[in-house]
Amino acid sequence: MTVHSFQEHFDKKIDGDVAIEPRDWMPDDYRKTLIRQISQHAHSEIVGMLPEGNWISRAPSLRRKAVLLAKVQDEAGHGLYLYSAAETLGITRDELYEQLHSGKAKYSSIFNYPTLTWADMGAIGWLVDGAAIMNQVPLCRCSYGPYARAMVRVCKEESFHQRQGYEIMLTLANGAPMQKKMAQDALDRWWWPSLMMFGPPDAESGNTEQSMRWRIKRLTNDELRQKFIDVTVEQANILGLTIPDKDLKWNEERGHYDSGAINWDEFWNVVKGNGPCNKQRLDTRKKAWADGQWVRDAAMAHAEKRKARKATAKAA
């Protein structure tokens, strides 16, 4: 087959919704785009452990502590599934870490915001996981098999994450006035960054068109964002909390909520590294990795010693 016919074969599969598997021929750009997107997603899970991990030691009840610990652990698991999916494309996890640590690879900017009160655990579960699920569900049908399968597993496990967050918000909203204030404060701080999680507006999103064509992406940033706003407004009403957007109102004609302008300058500023916690998050990851080097080396050295001993025993 010529490259041309490889390409044709690939296109036919994409158009016919036939999954692309690791050993199938694929265009270089498709591979690169996938590595970029999957690893960015994996990095987000791993860095995303940190803002919530902050509160494991301070969770206000034993039940909340166990749930939060299990949730942050799930995020480690999700990172692992995603790194594995990226590894099927011919890149190692070590290389992906290197890209993260050097700043070459990005992760979701939302995790560069600080978690200041216990209510932030509620807001993150409710809003950040809610937005993530909105993003991830269509990815279960993404054209690349290993990525789609990883997302199926992630989505299945993630269903409890948003619920536990909303439950925290509900408890606070129905609690003492001070607790309700804490919940409102968390909503005020996390609302806009959550909307930014869907990425820049379609008009400015360079990658969207090609990714849609390749069926790596199924819905545009703005479509997903709108969906999120529509369902979340109702949930905020049930909590009796106010979404911090004075332009938010139902548009009968569109059948959607209209909302105020997002501050994209803030978004790009955080992406560029100027968020409240960018340096702290990355430094923490780098430190964990560097501190773990001797541990990883020791395990490898021991495995090799054992192998060698086994071989000697066999020979004798």
Partner: protein, 100 residues
């Protein structure tokens, strides 16, 4: 494939297969890194059976998996296409025959 730079110190990659309950086949669950086989099994238990998904685990070092070339797919699998007699639905049985 992209250039695979091997880091001598990176723990090898393992493929994990899990039997979700007695009587079923082991099914590919995903992969993970581990220094040796024992650790790979334990890691698999901790990573892939956190929600009681398994009763038995197999691990195989990924480099030991030999895969068919997708380019050969036609010669390997197409011949089976016309042997539908291997599929149970090929046989018409009266509705009264149950549980077959």
């Amino acid at each position: 494939m992209a250039q695979q730079t091997t880091n001598k110190n990176e723990w090898p990659l393992w493929e994990v297969f899990i039997r979700s309950k007695a009587g079923l086949d082991h099914k590919h669950a995903g992969s993970l890194h581990a220094a040796d086989a024992e650790m790979a099994i334990e890691n698999a238990r901790d990573v892939y059976t956190r929600r009681m998904e398994g009763v038995s685990i197999w691990v195989v070092e990924s480099t030991n998996i030999h895969a068919s070339d997708p380019g050969d797919a036609e010669s390997l699998y197409d011949p089976a296409n016309d042997k539908i007699y291997r599929h149970p639905t090929f046989y018409n049985l009266p509705d009264a025959v149950k549980y077959m």
